[in-house]
Subunit: 471 residues, 2 copies
């Protein structure tokens, strides 16, 4: 039996199982639902054992002083101990469901309609986690082997929707059991139902607050205005100076470590059917797109770093006027970063810039809590990316394109701590209403995801030497 036939035959069982799992309200952000998160982990362990996984267990996270919610670990070793090891990442916790009255059906009472399965977690991320056991079973059925062609590990987190507070700690603690040659992330979207795509990178982030202090107290602008520097003027100049006329960030060395987007990737991005007017309408932005010159809109949000002012305040902000020179001025800044930028380098560069550009008489402080997130990126030419693209193309019967994500996620920790390249194999859609009422998933796409996963193990096995060469 081939992979597609197996999946088709087991589709009903698969969706029945998924509905059972979706009925468990595993909302990690809600302490009243933490028992449900535990039940969700137990459910998944049971399901994996049913599928024959030799190792499937609940892993506690955090410690006695700061307990976390459980992850699920599973492993199905290849027969060949030298075979590549792939680690699948996903999560079994879900977002809160408020506002409840905007749901057409109860969020934890899954409903099927027009080929969609509606429930909280259907796309993000239970549906995309559960296609992996189905995919592996299909792979084994097709090959007739007792074990997969590569060693497969699963790490399914229970706190992703709460900011993964114990995830990096878990990765460090279990680095040995989690060791792998490639990380397969199944928690993302593809471009469109008829445009399969692979995400190859996520931007990182660095955050800081700038605080300027001028006179000891707010001054009367009649008595002093024109002769004492105004911290708000200085802040405006400093922030205006963060970009040059081409929209490039002016911080010293900001672009030094940036990996330029390759012509190959630009060419693939350009082939995505992107409706810029629609995208701007989604943003509620009435003007044209704008940003760093020389790049398209998708290149700007995916492949280029930014500096953004997220908040700014100082002086009189209440009703009416108050003719003062304010004592202080503040701004919150964040920088979206791309590979290989380092959040700490960027904060250092910000400190240098602020120190050099702040005039005498104004004290400048740059506050950063060091909570940056590194960017992650898999080059188009990376062997694992090629394997992922081939697996997706076989499942969908069409060319697979490449995307990136403009936001940041815990995936960089996986790549960083486990020292393995990332491949994003996801079949969610932007229209899945993740985090919103009426979350849904396209049932046919989940089956395609299982199929792509089934092919992926063979594709990875085929390039095994390239993957394990990094060991």
């Amino acid at each position: 039996m081939d992979v597609r036939g197996y999946i088709s035959d087991h589709a009903d069982t698969f969706f029945d199982a998924l509905e059972a799992w979706l009925s468990i309200p595993s909302i990690s952000a809600d302490p009243a639902r933490h028992d449900d998160v535990r039940q969700s982990a137990d459910w998944l362990v049971g399901k994996l054992r049913e599928h024959g996984w030799p190792v499937a267990e609940v892993w506690e996270t955090g410690d006695a002083a700061d307990p976390g919610l459980p992850a699920v670990f599973a492993c199905w070793p290849a027969e060949d101990p030298a075979a590549p090891v792939a680690l699948v990442y996903g999560h079994h916790d879900v977002q809160p469901v408020e506002p409840l009255d905007e749901w057409d059906s109860p969020p934890f009472d899954p409903a099927r309609r027009d080929g969609l399965l509606l429930a909280r977690g259907a796309s993000d991320d239970k549906g995309q986690v559960l296609f992996h056991p189905l995919g592996l079973s299909a792979n084994l059925a097709a090959s007739g082997a007792a074990a997969p062609p590569v060693t497969i590990k699963l790490l399914i987190e229970g706190e992703e929707e709460s900011g993964s507070p114990h995830f990096a700690g878990l990765l460090r603690r279990e680095r040995d059991r989690l060791s792998c040659d490639v990380v397969v992330v199944s928690d993302t979207t593809m471009w469109a139902a008829d445009v399969p795509s692979l995400c190859v990178g996520m931007r990182g982030i660095a955050e800081a607050e700038v605080q300027l202090t001028g006179p000891e107290r707010d001054l009367h602008s009649g008595s002093f205005g024109g002769a004492v520097p105004n911290p708000l003027h200085v802040l405006a100049s400093l922030l205006a100076g963060l970009h040059d006329e081409a929209g490039r960030v002016t911080l010293p060395g900001f672009y030094d470590k940036v990996l330029p987007v390759t012509d190959a990737e630009r060419e693939l991005i350009a082939r995505l059917p992107f409706d810029e007017a629609d995208w701007l309408a989604q943003a509620g932005h009435s003007g044209a797109a704008a940003g760093e010159s020389g790049y398209s809109t998708l290149e700007r949000v995916w492949t280029r770093p930014t500096a953004e002012i997220n908040g700014m305040w100082g002086g009189h902000t209440g009703p009416g006027g108050k003719t003062i020179i304010p004592a202080q001025a503040h701004a919150k800044l964040s920088f979206r970063l791309v590979a290989e930028q380092d959040p700490e380098d960027v904060i250092d560069a910000l400190r240098s810039y602020i120190a050099a550009a702040t005039p005498p008489g104004i004290d400048a402080t740059v506050i950063s809590h060091g909570n940056g997130v590194r960017p992650c990126f898999s080059p188009v030419a990376a062997p694992a990316v090629g394997a992922g693209m081939r697996a997706m193309s076989r499942a969908f019967g069409t060319e697979t394109l490449l995307t990136r994500e403009g936001g940041s996620g815990p995936e960089a920790d996986l790549a960083e701590i486990l020292g393995a390249p990332l491949v994003f194999v996801g079949v969610g859609l932007a229209s899945d209403r993740m985090h919103a009422p009426n979350e849904r998933v396209d049932m046919a796409l989940l089956l395609k995801g299982a199929e792509a996963a089934a092919y992926l193990w063979d594709e990875l096995a085929a390039i095994g030497g390239e993957l394990t060469a990094r060991r």
Copy 2:
């Protein structure tokens, strides 16, 4: 008997009377003290009649729908109906007294110590109002005439410390009875006890709020950052662009109507014994003075217009980070203006600048309530200023220098509505603690003020033709 001898002989009576007036707690900002403000007006009318003023009356202000506190009007006509008419402006209401526990003696129980008279209103402004009847009596005693050499009017307001809400209305209503050739303002300070000076100008003010709107709602900076304009960036650039590198305001036409400070005035300003380090220490500013190049610190705050950001806000201003492109950005601006700038012109120029410099996709609104204050200024070469300087120099026996005020006041309304030049004859000091606990006045300076006032009427009479030529 000469002026000085008369004043010396009547000093005790004068201070006893002043103490009686200072005992009336005429706090206009406190509704519980409004009866006291009325009593204060009545007291002054009685005192003027004692001094022989032919007209002395209480003028109600406001109207039935919006009643105000009473002013005092008085008039002592010259015998010659063609003689110049001088109008003295001051106020009989006082500031609140909180914090009471910081007063060394009760604010409305006047105390004398080391040549100082301590009480709320001693310097601001009852002491400086009351030297006028004494001065005129001295003038008449010295000349032996039955009437002053110029027609003298008094307008003593009762709401100055509450923002003069009904003052412009009163001036318009009583324009005929208040008609004059020169306005003498006695509500200001001189440079130092041993440096008599005349204020020749006050800056005006124009205020506005700038509001920028970008996307309809705050956007996720991961999804959109780098390709959608950020209103806070635009605001920073607009505000940074308000000044050029020389510290000049860049608004189109901003300096077109500015009367340049004359070499004669600059020379007089430069002769003031100004301790810049001490002035900066008062401002709580640790750096050097800074501002428009080509001007000294006093020239900057007195003779040059400014643009100040008084407040600025937008986006996330609470604890922690929030990686958004905010939907809106706001700033409150004020401009200090010098003669002959017009507040409305400046707001128009701001509107033009913002409209031209705001990029497409950002909506900019400039909100102004049209509550600007015009600057006021009397040229050094104005005949009335010369008369004031001569009167001060005769009283103090030394050269009189010139100052200005950087702030704004209702005096511009006097000049504007009555169409007469201003002369500021005041003997307060910066150390008088106006508006603060332990307000005091130098008793010897009040007598010098009376003396200067006595001489002033003769000096104005001597240049009568120049004053009345404008009629």
